[in-house]
């Protein structure tokens, strides 16, 4: 069981290395660039409203809970710390990763699965088109860029909504975005970016691997999709927690 898991993790790592290696080549540059742009729009841009909404809701909840649990004298300082430390370093990358998994991971598995089952990937090879470069590289790029950008959107929306909630509810009337910016250290930003890069890469690797594993059996598509969702969630959560522990 452990050996099977280990082998799968090695397969994900191999696929990732192959894809990053394909980024160094130049064949099909224009058409690959167009594919990358398309994937960034799908994985990143299209998810902006949902991520912004989630960021705002999470921040409002955090402000309300902090204000309810703490004595009123300490509330503004704690809210600043919670919003910068907990939200930027922990919640933003994690919640964004979950949204990316739900939206893009399943879509990639289904798309690659159908292409695999219909021999389209093999046809691509016969045309001298490298499937790693044409199919996987855009998906990896889109997922990684999307994850980083959406984490930023999440933080931005959460800051605005958090400050608005604190001011409107009267729990920290003097709180402003400038206060939050002062509390936000470079290490917080670095940790959030590192987590986003790792989560984006992991989710892309799992989605692409499971999609390509469908082979010619269409009935594998729902199974592989479910497996990809579960594995992407588990692997990305574990990786993010490891980064948290390593950077405390």
């Amino acid at each position: 069981m452990l050996l099977v898991e280990l082998r799968r993790v090695v397969s994900y790592a191999t696929l990732t290395v192959m894809t990053f290696g394909a980024a160094l080549r130049r064949d099909g540059r224009r058409v690959v660039r167009a594919q990358i742009a398309r994937q960034i729009v799908f994985s990143g841009w299209d998810a902006v409203p949902l991520v912004a909404l989630m960021g705002a809701l999470v921040a409002v909840s955090m402000v309300v809970i902090t204000a309810t649990l703490l004595p009123s004298g300490q509330t503004p300082q704690i809210i600043e710390k919670v919003l910068t430390f907990v939200l930027v370093r922990e919640l933003a990358p994690q919640v964004t990763a979950i949204i990316v998994i739900l939206r893009s991971c399943s879509a990639i598995v289904v798309e690659l699965g159908y292409m695999s089952a219909r021999d389209e990937i093999e046809a691509m090879q016969t045309l001298g088109i490298d499937p790693v470069r044409y199919l996987l590289l855009p998906r990896f790029s889109g997922m990684i860029a999307g994850q980083v950008a959406l984490t930023t959107v999440f933080v931005g929306a959460a800051f605005v909504a958090g400050v608005a909630a604190a001011v409107v509810l009267g729990v920290a009337p003097a709180l402003s975005l400038d206060n939050l910016r002062e509390h936000l250290g470079p290490s917080d930003v670095l940790v959030a970016v590192a987590k986003s890069l790792v989560a984006g890469t992991l989710v892309a690797a799992v989605a692409c691997y499971q999609g390509l594993s469908v082979g010619r059996d269409l009935t594998q598509i729902p199974r592989r999709t479910t497996r990809a969702l579960m594995e992407a969630l588990i692997h990305s959560t574990l990786a993010l927690q490891l980064i948290t522990l390593a950077t405390l």
């Binding site: 064949d27 224009r30 021999d119 389209e120 046809a123 090879q125 016969t126 045309l127 001298g128 490298d130």
Partner: protein, 215 residues
Amino acid sequence: MLAIDIDRLRLQELSGARLSLKVGAGEAVALVDDDQHRVTPIIRRCGGLDPIDEGRVQIGTVDVGRADRHTLQRMRQDVGYVSIGGGLFANTTLAANVALPLRYRGMAEAEADARARELLAEAGLQQHADLRAATIASELQKLAAYVRALALQPGVLLVEDAAAHLHPHGRRVVQQLLTTLRARGATVLLADDDRELARHLTDRVVELSSVLEAA
């Protein structure tokens, strides 16, 4: 001009029998058998799609069985391939299907699109150019697959099953496409269970049993 040299290729599908066949540069050969499933694996190995355990397949200077992924990719820029079902990208229009290999080679989008439409028109598919592949009849898909495989003007064409999905009209179109291809000196190796069509499309029809060496 590229030749194909199959030397003692061992085929598990044929109980481990070995096959040897030479196709000269510019020659068109049909490998025929009553059972299509016995000849298709040979073409797949020539195209580098299935592994070669024993024996050798050489196209031009490339040893297909020993070539790495990138060598095969480079070889395929000069080797067209038509699979049984065609393998078109189902969710893409015929024009985009044909234009993709051209665009991948660096042709500008508008130019590739115009060229793709021109090639589709030569096969009588101009009115279907903007339809998604999944929405058209399998015969038209197969014809479009021929057009796509020939778009890069390959030096070699490999065809898994020339007659599959084709009605008499489609067969005439394929014959015409191959005639144009061969006028440029291309080498053709196809597998088929339809000897009549094979005779029309090629110079030489080879019975599978005549080139097999029992295990």
